[in-house]
Symmetry: C2
């Protein structure tokens, strides 16, 4: 998954760190569906995700403002996934809502 | 790597997303040293990291305030690692500095 192309700050980030339970048990399908559903929400700016082989993962989604985050959390299909996540997929998670104030990056010169 | 145990917000997060070049070339040793060095800095609160097999990784470090982040960025040994990172280890990266405003989590009841 590449870096999300986000606009100039300020905007918001939801930092979701999680420890998965063993086995897929429908997780992959749900995760794909949630990314698709999130991308269609008002205020959605992008998403980045990385998961190590130890099952510890970080997903950061970017949003224009806090109201967009609150709406996404309350989305019915997303709420069903949240419930299933607590029952089945996650051994634990932490969610942090943060306001991105500055951003910068590096791309090698002459890179393709 | 487990979830970082951070205090009650507000505090700051540095969201570092990167695409690695191929091969280790001393990266693992440097990354371990930088985590150790960061942990000794004033204002350091914790770090979380996940990297997929595609070489895309997310590292989030947590800090008490912006001044701590500025000091860490300017640390001489860290600056040398930043230079080496641009020359050798990273095909590209993005750094976002964000103020964590809210946080909550989930741990299964009865879990051990």
């Amino acid at each position: 998954m590449p870096t999300a192309e986000t606009p100039k700050p300020p905007y918001y980030a939801v930092i979701f760190t999680s420890q998965r339970t063993d086995g897929d048990r429908g997780y992959g399908e749900m995760a794909g569906r949630m990314e698709e559903l999130a991308a269609g929400q008002p205020g959605y700016l992008g998403i980045e995700s990385a998961k190590g082989q130890d099952g510890f993962g970080i997903t950061v989604s970017y949003w224009s403002d806090e109201a967009a985050i609150v709406r996404w959390k309350a989305n019915l299909e997303h709420r069903e996934a949240q419930d299933a996540g607590r029952k089945t997929w996650y051994a634990g998670y932490t969610i942090r809502i943060a306001k991105v104030e500055r951003a910068y990056g590096f791309v090698p010169s002459g890179g393709g």
